[in-house]
Symmetry: C2
Subunit: 290 residues, 2 copies
């Protein structure tokens, strides 16, 4: 682990944000920094899979992580190369052999012509028989990690209107990715984990986004047993978390959180009187329902 | 207009939310109401188009609005029927003749097998030559409408973790839809507008979601000249708004807002000293970067 370089946001990358001129509520000129958004079309070998809207950092991690998190790449598929063409805004993940999903899409597209249903089917299929490791987790770490993530220089601080996801181990933030698409941030972390052979069983995933079915499925397919969010839940997300034994914690702000799945794994070791209520400055600029 | 029944959230619909048992940060049992999330697979005639994650209200409006907002249904396409099968979670929009997009997907799927790129291409293509009506808009209405929307009984108040979009005319909220997918809320309004033959030129669209390229494109294709959000911007969203002459207002909370496109159409008629700073209770539970 110690040899792995941490993966953190780069708010100073000029490709990721831009200053835009406008006016405020009084009609006065005002210029603000806004996040870039660009398409990335992801191919698996010669098969076009999806066009994602992304800020554009780490396209190789995003492409690989997306395919892994959709269940389109199996453990048995050997990734040989990932090509990114900045001009074409295309990332191609290449494998040693033809993947099942290429076969399936080949058939599928002769019938309905839509990959999306297939993709979703694969995601759910990947959950069958999946049971996450029953690793105990200390609530004290949640508060410490939230503080670290909220105080790490980020595109969010620069521009707002962006989601963040962090991979954590104990009190360490190993990887913190941001993106306009909240799922992209998770997928970039999945790609980085795969290429760096990072184990998942002892990790905690923190996200600013809501705990929807897709977020829960991605976390489960990554093999991470604990998912924490500042935001809320969907009923299906909770159902899936319980099915795979994921500890699911939402609405974590200040002292408070709500755990709706896998609570038996929580070790309550935090003196809550020592936790400040949420600093107003830490409330999100884009503050909203996720 | 007066004969049209308003379309508002129905937080009391038992199909849309569920009480779930969990624990809080102290380990005490806690039960909260969470929003439902279910797939809806949308067909255009016999062509499968997409599977959307939705709360499940108004599937017919969502299916029709999605196809309209993706540029997959043209003005010339006559919609004859919309079928919804609750058990199969499928909505089928039927047209008098075969649509261009069915032809295109037919060809497309023989090559790459992915509809997504095509869909996105159609969205952008629909913007060519599009120029929104140059309707003046009074800033005083923004504050009044925000207050109305924030005080309308909603699933958001019940469960959080959900987005809302409202179609407004003057000081009236005509339609307010919510969904786990922020684009679904907009699409449901588009479907409702189409079926009720609601004109767009004098309307304002309010959304809780970020002003991404997709949100701006949908609003532009709906023909609505003003889009307002509590949340922030993306650079591409701003570029597209300027291209089509959309008045784009973001970060609207309390007295404040930022306008990054179409500011020449704003009429500043609000005495800001009369606008309270945002009520803390109005800050979103799921408070986040959208």
């Amino acid at each position: 682990m110690m040899t792995i370089e941490k993966l953190l946001p780069n708010p100073t990358d000029p490709r990721l944000s831009r200053t835009v001129e406008g006016v405020d509520e009084t009609g006065q000129a005002k210029s603000i920094s806004v996040i870039e958004e660009r398409p990335l079309t992801i191919y698996l070998n010669s098969q076009e899979i999806v066009t994602a809207m992304t800020i554009g950092d780490h396209p190789e991690y995003l492409a690989l992580g997306f395919l892994l998190n959709q269940g389109m790449l199996k453990e048995t598929d050997r990734v040989t190369k990932i090509d990114f063409d900045e001009e074409l805004e295309v990332a191609v993940v290449r494998t040693a052999g033809v993947t099942d999903v290429e076969d399936k899409l080949e058939k599928k597209t002769r019938t309905s012509g839509c990959a999306v249903g297939t993709v979703f089917g694969d995601m759910m299929a990947g959950l069958e028989g999946l049971s996450l490791p029953d690793t105990p987790v200390h609530t004290s770490t949640f508060y410490d990690l939230s503080y670290q993530i909220n105080h790490t220089p980020s595109l969010y601080m620069e521009t707002g209107a962006i989601h963040g996801t962090a991979l954590c181990q104990g009190l360490q933030v190993l990887a913190y990715m941001e993106d306009v698409g909240r799922h992209n941030a998770v997928d970039k972390i999945a790609g980085w984990m795969h290429l760096n052979d990072i184990q998942a069983a002892d990790k905690v995933l923190y996200t600013t986004g809501r705990l929807t079915s897709e977020m829960v499925i991605k976390t489960a397919l990554m093999g991470i047993p604990t998912l924490i969010s500042r935001s809320g839940f969907t009923a299906w997300g909770v159902d899936i978390a319980r099915q795979v034994g994921l500890t699911l914690i939402g609405r974590m702000r200040g002292k408070k959180f709500t755990c709706l799945s896998g609570q038996h794994r929580l070790v309550y070791d935090q003196d809550l009187s020592q936790v400040p209520d949420e600093d107003k400055k830490m409330r999100r600029k884009g503050a909203q329902r996720d």
